[in-house]
C-alpha cells in the first residue's frame, strides 16, 4: 500500500513555505541561502513523488526517468548555486566585514 501522492505534496509545500520564510526573514546571507536550499529540496520531493506516482504508472517506455533526471539536475544546480553564493558571501564579508543582507544595499541610490 503506497503512501498517497498528496501527502508528499503537502509535506513538500510545507517545506517550501518554511524555506520561503527563512529566505525572507533571515538577516544573515547564509541563512537566506539555507532557506533557498530548503525550497529546492521541496521541489525535488515533488519531482520524485510525481515521478513515482504518475510517470512510472503512465509511462510508455520501460524506463521512465524524466523525474529522476530532473531531480539530479536540480541537485546539480543547487550545488552550483551554493558554491557561487557562498563565494559571494565570503567576498562580501571580506570587503565589508558583514554578511547581513540589509547592509549590502549598494544598489540603492
Amino acid at each position: 500500500m503506497q503512501v498517497p501522492l498528496s501527502w508528499y505534496l503537502i509535506v513538500a509545500a510545507a517545506l517550501f513555505c518554511i524555506g520561503l520564510y527563512g529566505a525572507l526573514s533571515r538577516r544573515n546571507a547564509i541563512g537566506v541561502l539555507m532557506g533557498v536550499e530548503l525550497m529546492l529540496n521541496s521541489v525535488n520531493i515533488n519531482l520524485l513523488a510525481f515521478w513515482r506516482h504518475i510517470e512510472v504508472a503512465t509511462a510508455s517506455t520501460p524506463a521512465a526517468l524524466s523525474g529522476q533526471v530532473f531531480a539530479i539536475i536540480v541537485i546539480t544546480v543547487a550545488a552550483a548555486e551554493a558554491a557561487v553564493g557562498l563565494a559571494l558571501i565570503i567576498a562580501v564579508y571580506r570587503n565589508r566585514r558583514t554578511v547581513a543582507i540589509e547592509d549590502v544595499d549598494m544598489m540603492k541610490l
Binding site: A23, L24, V32, I101, E102, D105, M106, M107, K108, L109
Partner: protein, 715 residues
Amino acid sequence: MSEFFFNLVWLLPLFPLAAFAIIVLWTNRNRLLSTWIAWIGIGLAWILGWIILFLSWANFEELTPPVHGHPVPLYSIPTGSLQLTLGFQVDTLTALMLLMVPFVCLMIFIYSKGYMNYGTENVDPRYSRFFAYISLFACGMLGLVVSDNFVTLLVFWEIMGLCSYLLIGFWFDKSYPDPKRITPKEAGLKAFLTTRIGDVIMLAGILLLYSQTGTLTFTQVFSEETLHHLATTYAFPGMPWATLIALLIFGGAVGKSSQFPLHVWLPDAMEGPTPVSALIHAATMVSAGVYLVARSFPIFVAVPGGLQLSVVAFIGAFTALFASTIAVAQNDIKRVLAYSTISQLGYMIAALGVGAYVAAVFHLITHAFFKALLFMGSGSVIHGVEHGHHHVHHGHSDTDHSDGDFDPNDMMNMGGLLKRMPRTGWTFIIGALALTGIFPWAGFWSKDEILAEAWHGFQHGGEFGVTMGWAFFVWLFLTLAAFLTAFYTGRQIFLTFAGQPRTEAAKHAPESVPSMTWPLIILALFATFLGLFGTPWANQFFTLIGEKAEVVGEHLPHGEFNLLIAGVSTAVALAGWFLGWLIYGRKPLTEPVDPLEKPLGPVYTLLKNKYYFDEIYQKFIINPTISLGRVCATFDRRVVDGIVNAVGTFGRWLSSWLRKAIDNPIVDGAVNGVGWITAQAGEFMRATQTGNVQNYILVAAVTVVLLLFLFLIRA
C-alpha cells in the same frame, strides 16, 4: 576488393584539395614543403586512380557507360517533389580519363618545380601559390571525371574555370612594351568571360534536362526510356528536347574546348606559365569539353540524324582546319601549339560528330600525352632561351620576366637549339611525330581511327544517321588539317631546333634541370607506345568503352582498319613535313623573317592576325555592348534619377510642412508629457527602492499569494 577501391573514388579529388588547403593556409612560407605536399597529393590521387583503372579494366562488363557503372552516392537535395542525388561513380570512361589525368598532372607538377626556378636566385615570388592553384585545378579535373551527375560536373567544371583564370593571370603584374600585346591579366579575364558564355548555355541545357527528366544522374538520364521520352517530346515543332538540350550542352563544350567561334581565348591563355598551358590548355581542361560530349553522347544520338550531330561534326571539322591554318603563320612557339591544340580538339569533336565515340576518346587520351609533352618541351625551350638571354645581357641576377622587347617565345629568336638542349629537343621531336600522326607513334593510331570512321561514314552512311555528305566533308577537312598540322609542326621544329642560332640568347641557352627533362622523357615514352593499346586489331579502348556500350539500343560502331585511309593520312603528313623542310629546313634562314610572308602576301597577314577574330569581336560584340551600356547609363542618369529626385524633393517639402503643422505641437507635446509623467511617477516610486533584496522577494511572494487566492476565489 574492387568494390572497396571503387567506393574510395571520392578520395580522388579530395587529395589535391587537401594539398591546396594545406599549402594556402599553412605552408605558404615554405617552398620545398609546399612542393612536396602538392606532389604527395597528386601522387596519391595517381596511385588510387590507376588502381581503379586496372580494377575496372579487369571487370569492364558491368562498368561500361552510359547506363552501367559503380555508383558512390553522397547525399541528395530535395528539390520540390524530386530528389536531386549527387555523388560519384566509376565506369570505364571515368577509368580511361583516370589513365590520363592524374598521371599527366603529376608529370607537370614535377616539371613545375624546375620551371618555377626552385632553388635558383630568380625563383618565382609566388611559387607556393602556384602549386596551390594547380592542386586546386587537379581537384577540379578529377572531380569532373568521377562525378556521376551534371550538377557536380558543373561545379567542378567551374572550379576549373576559376583555376584557369587564376593561373592564366598568374603573372598579373606583368606588362609589355607594346600596348597591343595582351597582358596576362587581360588574358585571364578574356578566358574567363569567353568560357562563361559557353557555361551559361550549358547551364541552360542542364536546367532544361532537369525540368524534362527530373533527374541529372547520368545512369538515369541515359536510360532507354528517358532518352526515348526526350527524343519523342518536342520543345517546339521540328526540335525534339534531345536535340535542343544536346545543342545547349554542346555550347558548354564549345566554350571549354575553345571551338569556333569561342576559340579566341585559348591562344591568349598562353600568357600563363607554360606548365599551366600544358596542364590546363592542352591536356586536361580543354579536353573536358570533349569529355562532356562523350559523356552525354547518348543524348546527342537520341534522335537519329538529328541536327545536333551535324552541328557538332561541322564545328569540329571546321575548327580543325581553321585553327591549323592560323597556326601556320604564328611565330610564338606556344601560340602555334595552342592553335594546334584547338585543331586537335576539333578532330575529337568532329569524330564525335560522325559518331566515332571511341575514336574521339582514344584521341583525347593520346593527344593529352603528346600535347602536354610538346608544351612542356616548348616551356623548356623558352626557359633555356630566357636563361641564355639573362646570361648574355645582365648575368643571372635578373628576376622579372618582362625584360625589354626581347621575346623568348618568338621562334625567330631561336634556332639550332638541338645541340644546346638535346633532351628537350629529341623529346619535342618525338611529340611532334606523335602529333602529326607518323607511324607508329600514338597520334597515328588515334587520328587514323577518326579518319577511318569518317571515311566509313562517307561510304555507307554513318551510324546514328550521319549523312554521307557530312561524313565526307568531315573527312576532307580533317585530312587537310592533318596536312597543315604536319606542315606547321615541321616549321616549328626546323625554326626552333635546326640550323644556326639566330640570337645570342639562343647561342647560350642551357639545357633545363632534370626535374624538367625527366617528365619530358617519361611522357615521350607514353607518346610513343600508348597508341599500341588502340591498334584497330586489338583496341583496348574499344573493349573498354565501346563493346558493351549500348547507346539507344544499338552497339557503338567499330571502325575497322582501312589501309587506304591510313596511307592517305600518312602520305599527307609526310608531305607536310617535306614542305616544312623545303621552306624552313633546307637553307636555314638567317634573318628573323618568315619566307612565306612574300609569296602569300595578304593571306599571310590575314592568318597572322587570326582572321582578325579578336578585332571583329571587339567591333561587333564588345563595343556595341559597351555603347548599349552607356546608353542605358545616360537613360538611368537622366530619366530614372530625375524621377527619383523629384520624389525626394516632394517628400522633403511634405515632411517639413508636417513637422511644422503636426509634429512640433502634438507629437512632441505628447512625448514630453509622457516623459514628465514618468519623471513624477519615478520621484514618487523611488521610495519603494529600498535596495534590500529581501523586500523585493517579499513583495514577489505576497503578489504570488494574492494571485493564488484570486485564482482560488475565481475557481
